[in-house]
Symmetry: C2
Subunit: 321 residues, 2 copies
């Protein structure tokens, strides 16, 4: 059995109420304070947060629900969320739903049964359906990376369209004219936004976009194949924008295999591969999402909501290197 506040009471001759008060910052006679502290030390007392939560209706834990932890975006963001929340003495309960909407719904209820004080979710779909059970209980909720249609949820997302437009405009500003794009599934809002951004920039430059567009399946192989198709259809392609992480790796391999030089034969801008690719191919450009900031802002927004703060929708800009 664990040491409880009662053991401290017995040890010090005080009452559990006094000890509790002490732990919660009330003032206690110095003589007693010392006694309590000695007893804590001696017995190795650690407060039972569950009992506390039961009483206060505050568990001091929040849930984080992801489609996939084993990926740089999620891991980067979670690291920062954890850091920010820990500073406020909150714990982090993690659920990886493997991009499965069914598991997502289950996980929400699972986390609710752990009475989390709030939820940060990177939704597996554009729908907020699986979050219903949390929404109906007014659980503070922050969605990251993609919009949901719900108005009771805070959002922290990237300025996808703007970023895509800027990337494309930059490539065009280098004097490139045959600029392609490899984009993802258009049933996803985020992917549509990125493609739209590309098109806007092309249109502004008076260029025909459609013929340089290629769809990939968001995997490394998908990016590789899409890039090969594009290079085959347009051997004179002189610029390319890849709109997702995995596809960026695949496309880079394809470009390399084709014997093209990054930044010279072709202006290449990918997504989020900040480590190895720029090192191997110095001429490559990369959109880098502000993972740190996204995580921090999401955590802060959630904390504020837990304190009764309002729903917020925050759009962050990416950096281009």
């Amino acid at each position: 059995m664990n040491i409880t506040i009662k053991d401290l009471a017995r040890e010090t001759g005080l009452t559990s109420a006094t000890i509790s008060a002490y732990f919660n910052g009330a003032s206690v006679r110095p003589y007693n304070r010392d006694k309590i502290e000695r007893a804590v030390e001696k017995l190795g007392y650690i407060r039972n947060d569950y009992a506390r939560a039961l009483r206060t209706h505050r568990s001091m834990t929040v849930g984080v629900l992801l489609p996939e932890l084993y990926n740089a975006f999620a891991a980067g963001v979670v690291t920062q969320i954890e850091d920010t929340l820990k500073q406020h003495r909150y714990g982090l309960l993690i659920c990886d739903c493997r991009s499965d909407v069914g598991r997502e719904g289950e996980a929400v209820r699972f986390l609710q049964s752990k009475t989390v004080d709030g939820l940060i979710v990177i939704p597996s779909s554009d729908s907020a359906l699986s979050l219903d059970s949390a929404i109906s209980k007014n659980l503070p909720l922050v969605a990251m990376d993609r919009y949901t249609e719900s108005r009771n949820i805070s959002h922290v997302v990237l300025s996808n369209r703007k970023t895509a437009r800027e990337v494309t405009a930059r490539i065009l500003a280098e004097g490139r004219r045959k600029v392609g794009v490899i984009y993802g599934d258009q049933s996803v809002f985020k992917s549509r936004e990125r493609l739209s951004g590309y098109r806007e920039a092309m249109r502004e430059a008076g260029l025909d976009a459609e013929s340089f567009e290629e769809c990939g399946d968001l995997t490394m192989d998908g990016g590789y194949e899409a890039m090969k198709r594009l290079l085959h259809a347009h051997p004179d392609l002189d610029g390319i924008f890849i709109t997702s992480y995995e596809m960026t790796m695949g496309a880079a391999v394809a470009v390399d295999e084709a014997g093209l030089e990054f930044g010279k034969d072709i202006s290449f801008t990918g997504f989020d591969c900040t480590k190895l690719l720029p090192r191997l191919f110095p001429g490559i450009h990369m959109v880098v999402q502000p993972l740190q900031e996204m995580g921090r802002v999401a955590a802060e927004t959630l904390l504020s909501m837990i304190e009764g703060g309002p729903v917020r929708n925050i759009v962050l800009d990416a950096e281009i290197i």
Copy 2:
């Protein structure tokens, strides 16, 4: 306020004891079972695990303590841990201590205050000092990736020495003779084991190891610099074994820059870079740690310990591709 078992009692005309019994699998008259189920549905009842934990002394959550979540080893392992534990209805509380031993100790106490039923930790050092507070409370504990000196902890680690010896032997079996190694900080047991394995293989082949050894600082740049030094000292180097992930990336860049062809001019075996490197350099070899299995085994070991099972020490082999 949330729906409680009392609300169900009122709704059904039963008593909270009966409802509780029902949830815990006791047999209840079909008529009442239906009433309970309807009430649960209608009210959206979700059981409060905290209250339950308080009573049963089982929180159904375990803590995971890492030096760094933003890295492929941790993310891969945690994914599998989460999956395995979720199947047993356990939740996962995550703490990233940023490789800081002080924060590690704090995190252990933090997790204990959340009354976790057990702890899986990837220690930030070879010492188990920061785990003391958990050990003294007999909290079930599993350490991954590195040994600690404690005898009350289960361990799940890689067969570091054996793997290193095999890798080196394989390179030698290709007929290479000038085979180098880039290793990490020798104050770390795991790093010593890997270097020892290399040396054993070299010695068995009657070769002088010492002159081909180079130490790196476990970063990508460290690997890059170490590789450059090695190539400078031994322009005729024809084999190399890199003993860590980040250094592998750096070393690969250095080899590539030197204009050497992987698998031809030099036999290159790195650690854990399974995605991009083999794709870019088909001749490259990689040690791949069984992250899935390590995670699963760690989770299963912890679960068994929670059920009163014994301490286990498990050594897993890596695969070489």
